[in-house]
């Protein structure tokens, strides 16, 4: 089965062609990061306009690069939730047009679930149940995955997403957008124990909170003008990594899983990867995360999630809707 995946939930326009769930024939991403860098964040109107301009060339190029024509496709998978509504509509409209013209089955995919599915592209031996952690600019979710497309929420952020905390703190520190990779890089030259920024205590829950950390850091910045920026970056990053790793390991123990999938833009953070590798070894857990290009928003993961959904007999009609909000498993 050859699936075309389409992703336009936020600031990347992406199309990918996937054969039989693991053979990635193409994965093209038109990033708007350069465009948004001047704003210090994603500008939604700019994003929607850019998707409109980018979608047709990207679709054609994805099929060309796969060495195919649109006639060779067997199905179309598109991220229809959650995301910026104007942006989602561009991808979903394109997917519907292709489905109609070429008579292809259409399946709408949850963008958050698809992030976890990026791990299925690289590993074919994954066994349920698994725990999934999605961490990105807009999301922070822990869910128990009991089967394909079957997710039970375990935890979430009660305020800010970790990527949002990275971006806002980076902006306050005068660092460029996006904040995550910049802080990741600075932190390699810094001491993660230099400043003891607070870790939120959410008791026995598996939730996260990063708003208090952000506030503490802003206060610190205003009171310590001479502190080394590398040490601040490393200490701030460590507080986020601690919360993500400790809570995830605790949830893995509580649910009894042996495999943990980590995904989303923040999963590309090198310190997070290293700490998860360490924690996996210490706790007898197999903790996986995709390579960086599959951590960012991309259509390969949409095609993968679509592949498994279609294999399970799921599909949507041309009435497929878009949803701004949609937790894992919905």
């Amino acid at each position: 089965m050859i699936v075309l995946g389409i992703e336009t939930t936020c600031d990347e326009t992406s199309a990918a062609v996937l054969r039989d769930g693991t053979e990635l024939l193409s994965n093209l991403i038109s990033s708007q990061v350069e465009l948004h860098r001047q704003w210090g964040g994603v500008a939604p109107e700019v994003a929607a306009r850019h998707h409109v301009e980018a979608i047709n060339p990207i679709l054609r190029q994805a099929v060309d690069e796969a060495g195919l024509t649109f006639n060779d496709l067997d199905a179309v998978a598109v991220a229809n939730r959650p995301g910026l509504v104007g942006a989602l509509l561009v991808g979903v409209s394109a997917a519907k047009a292709l489905a109609m013209v070429y008579g292809l089955p259409l399946v709408g995919v949850n963008h958050l679930e698809a992030h976890l599915y990026a791990n299925f592209l690289e590993h074919t031996d994954l066994e349920f149940p698994m725990l999934g952690l999605v961490v990105s600019g807009g999301h922070s979710n822990l869910a128990l995955m009991t089967g394909h497309g079957e997710f039970q929420p375990v935890g979430h952020t009660v305020d800010d997403a970790p990527g949002e905390a990275f971006d806002k703190v980076a902006r306050a520190m005068g660092l460029p957008y996006p904040g995550g990779p910049v802080i990741d890089k600075l932190a390699t030259e810094g001491d993660p124990t230099a400043y003891p920024f607070p870790r939120a205590d959410l008791g026995e829950t598996f939730n996260f909170s990063f708003s208090g950390l952000k506030t503490a850091l802003l206060r610190f910045l205003s009171e310590n003008k001479d502190a080394r920026v590398e040490d601040i970056a490393a200490s701030f990053q460590e507080a986020i990594v601690d919360a993500l790793v400790n809570t995830t390991v605790r949830a893995a123990r509580a649910t009894g899983v042996e495999t943990v999938l980590v995904a989303g833009g923040v999963a590309a953070n090198r310190r997070l990867k290293a700490r998860f590798a360490e924690a996996g070894e210490r706790n007898g857990l197999r903790i996986l995360s995709p390579k960086p290009i599959l951590c960012t928003d991309n259509a390969a993961m949409i095609a993968t999630a679509g592949h498994y959904a279609l294999r399970e007999g799921r599909g949507d009609g041309l009435g497929l809707e878009t949803f701004a909000t949609a937790p894992l498993g919905s």
Partner: protein
């Protein structure tokens, strides 16, 4: 679109002003909860304050006062989150917007004309589109805590007058 008015030319009722000191985040949340319990369908709340001022904490309290059973996550990324409660809450955040015309496709007028409570963080960029009747809240850090200043315009003024608030320090009508 009746919601789009120039606020400056339309204000007729005197505004009501309140000022409260919150020594810690719990106090900020309680004040939010207390105001949330007073909310009526159609109320617009604008929440001003810099990063780290305590907007999130206040919003959590307001949501509790509206009997919203779930955590309200930051809408910075999604721009608008809707929550079901005693009265539905549309929670918006315009932090990421750079120009007023970026509001065009968000459909905020539908919320402003609707029967829910609308809470907007970082509303500065949208002020020309805000209806007259509204509560403005400004949170500023002080040495030992946070100063919360409330100003209500238009019909929303009734929500602030007669609001019994612990550690409340002032109630005044400003003639504007």
């Amino acid at each position: 679109m009746s919601a789009i008015q120039n606020p400056k030319s339309k204000i007729q009722n005197p505004g009501v002003h309140r000022s409260v000191f919150a020594p810690d985040p719990l106090a900020t949340e309680r004040i939010g909860e207390s105001l949330g319990r007073r909310m009526e369908p159609g109320t617009l709340v604008l929440l001003f304050g810099n990063l780290g001022a305590g907007k999130t904490t206040f919003a959590h309290g307001l949501a509790r006062g509206l009997e919203i059973p779930t955590d309200i996550q930051s809408p910075t990324f999604a721009l608008i989150y809707e929550h079901k409660g005693r009265i539905p809450l549309a929670h918006m955040d315009f932090y990421r917007l750079n120009a007023p015309d970026e509001l065009d496709t968000l459909g905020i007028e539908e919320y402003l004309d609707g029967d829910g409570v609308t809470l907007i963080e970082w509303p500065e960029i949208a002020m020309d589109r805000m209806p007259e009747s509204r509560i403005e809240i400004r949170i500023t850090p002080e040495a030992m805590g946070r100063r919360l200043e409330f100003t209500a315009h238009g019909d929303a003024a009734t929500l602030l007058s007669g609001w019994n608030l612990e550690s409340d320090e002032s109630e005044s009508s400003t003639g504007e």
